[in-house]
Subunit: 346 residues, 2 copies
DNA sequence: CTCGGTCTGGAAAGCGCTTTCCCATCGATC
DNA sequence: GATCGATGGGAAAGCGCTTTCCAGACCGAG
């Protein structure tokens, strides 16, 4: 015979209090925790009533009464992209371990969406917001995002970015440039001298950093990538595929191709395969996406600890804000595999 | 000179009302929508004030006042698994198109977590909850989930499941069995007669259905899979890899192996490659994971429209509840590729 | 003019909680 | 035996909104 406050259809704390024969205040203290203690016998009575009525506290009401929530917003570009889903997995794991809920939004690479979603999170009074996404060099969009994040922090929320250090907030900085530089050094060390780069979108900072780092790494061995061997395109599989074909059409004779991420590298491999060149032209990627570790030939790449990056970002927002934005640097590690067997010197 | 209700640090509707020189009620009607109209001139004044103060409505407070939220909970097993991240992408897209926020949780295949999260969603008074995850045959866990979902629906929320029709709620039913049956028929048609199956975990319904369907399909051509050629293991890449090695150790002579999902199939391919058998033993998977479309040899599989499945589930919860649970059947389509070139009859 | 009706703004009553007061009780203290 | 400090229960005041309900203004009809 469960008495429900028929109006809304959900069991409220008042129902529980009535059932247990105590006041609202006592019920609240017994069930949802408080500094104040409650006599064990009464606590037990309340808990039993709650169980009998299958009560669950209205988190919204708690949030509005307490002035804070246990929600953290995570913004990624595309959850289908394994790069982001790994980061999300790390963030979610860390969130769960700390009793937080994660709300995820995908921006589909539209910077405005980031701002929009950050505003929504401010509306939800989220405890924190984590934004994983390559910044573009669109100064306007960046300013708007900065303003919104500022408002978010002023209203008591915590913010962390994943990617590059572009705004004065806590950031997990991914050493794209250094990783790509290392890769360039190693590939030059394998004897390659003629390179192409599938460089991704021009305005994507991550892509630009990787390109820059790579050419630096090669420069250490006096290898230069001629401008016409740098092909821009989309940041995804098809972008890699098409850019590879473009490159082949332009200058057929490169020994090694660097795609600025693994997904593009796989597209490039497919393109090479369609031309029968998969064992002729070496290919390297970036990220070391788990799902792609079994492609053939196994992909040389720069391993990024994506799950840890997600965890690290969440750790940052769990900490009290520092007076100055924190930076946490994450480096990648070059992994040489079959896709770059090295030049037999001739 | 922005006056803020200093206490909480966030701009409230009251601040806006004061700034605009109107009542709280009017401000609410002007900004956050209402059946009632507001004189355009006043509305404009309120909107300007809101903009000046950079006001964002407290969604929690709105939720508690209105008695509903625009939050939908999505439960997946592992967001890193491309199967689930594609479903999530579809669900998120559809949610965004309808002004809903998505909160995602990963269960890591622990059925209890599903219940726990559903309860949390009830606490958040989420508008809906979508659960994507292979049910296990654990009757107890299923009952608990059923009870919780029931409570959730009674409190006014909507529920949809993705997978198999196991509970009396709206469900996007994935035709695992039929898809696997079709695959069996086609593979038998290619001339294979001796099969192995990498069958995944024993208690996972999805895996069991696919196994059952596959053997049915083969049976149509009077091919039987001997029990010792069915190897159980984990549902992931390593599970496929290890199961393949086990199978090879047990009975080396199978012509074709069916792994109950693509990720396992890739693991199996890796295992075969390590034995130099990648062109000797045919391999088929299930799902047609996007990221895996470029593995070599290209994988024969059953294509599942994962993104659409996610969208469909969200569509279901957007509709008014029907008197009887809805079912929406999604079939897979066999895609034959190089990994099953067919037997040259000898 | 007066009367019902339509607009539109404001006061106030919620929504379901938490938390501050207030007060009764009780054992310990002098 | 009066006093004091804990202890723990309840009433009520919020939290930031939405949504009644009420009242004044304005309109055309009679």
């Amino acid at each position: 015979m469960r008495t429900m406050s028929a109006k809304r259809g959900a069991v409220t704390l008042e129902d529980v209090a009535r059932e247990a024969g105590v006041s609202l205040a006592t019920a609240s203290r017994a069930i949802n925790g408080s500094a104040r203690t409650v006599r064990p016998e009464i606590r037990e009575r309340v808990e039993r009533a709650a169980r009998a009525l299958n009560y669950t506290a209205n988190a919204q009401a708690q949030a509005v009464a307490r002035g804070r929530t246990n929600l953290v917003g995570l913004v990624v570009q595309d959850i289908e992209d394994p790069y982001f889903s790994s980061i999300a997995a790390g963030a979610m794991r860390m969130a769960e371990a700390n009793g937080l809920m994660v709300s995820i939004a995908g921006t589909g690479r539209r910077p405005d969406k980031e701002v929009e979603y950050a505003a929504a999170m401010r509306g939800l009074r989220a405890a924190a917001i984590v934004i994983a996404g390559s910044r573009t060099d669109d100064r306007d969009a960046l300013d708007r995002l900065g303003a919104e994040l500022d408002a978010f922090e002023r209203s008591g929320g915590r913010v962390a970015l994943i990617g590059q250090r572009r705004l004065p907030v806590d950031t997990v900085v991914v050493a794209n440039r250094a990783g790509a530089r290392d890769l360039g050094v190693r590939l030059a060390g394998l004897g390659y001298r003629s390179f192409g780069v599938l460089a991704g979108p021009r305005d994507l900072l991550t892509a630009a950093d990787r390109l820059a780092g790579f050419t630096e790494g090669l420069a250490a061995s006096d290898v230069v990538v001629p401008p016409e061997a740098v092909v821009h395109g989309e940041f995804d599989r098809d972008g890699g595929h098409d850019a590879m074909l473009d490159l082949l059409a332009g200058r057929g004779e490169v020994e090694c191709v660097f795609a600025v991420n693994d997904v593009m590298a796989v597209g490039a491999l497919a393109a090479l395969r369609s031309r029968g060149l998969e064992r002729t032209v070496a290919v390297a990627g970036f990220d070391d996406i788990t799902t792609l570790r079994d492609v053939t030939p196994a992909l040389t790449t720069v391993r990024l600890p994506l799950v840890e990056i997600g965890e690290a970002a969440l750790e940052m927002v769990l900490q009290e804000p520092a007076d100055r934005p924190r930076r946490r640097l994450v480096r990648g590690e070059v992994v040489l595999r079959e896709s770059t067997p090295g030049m037999r010197h001739g």
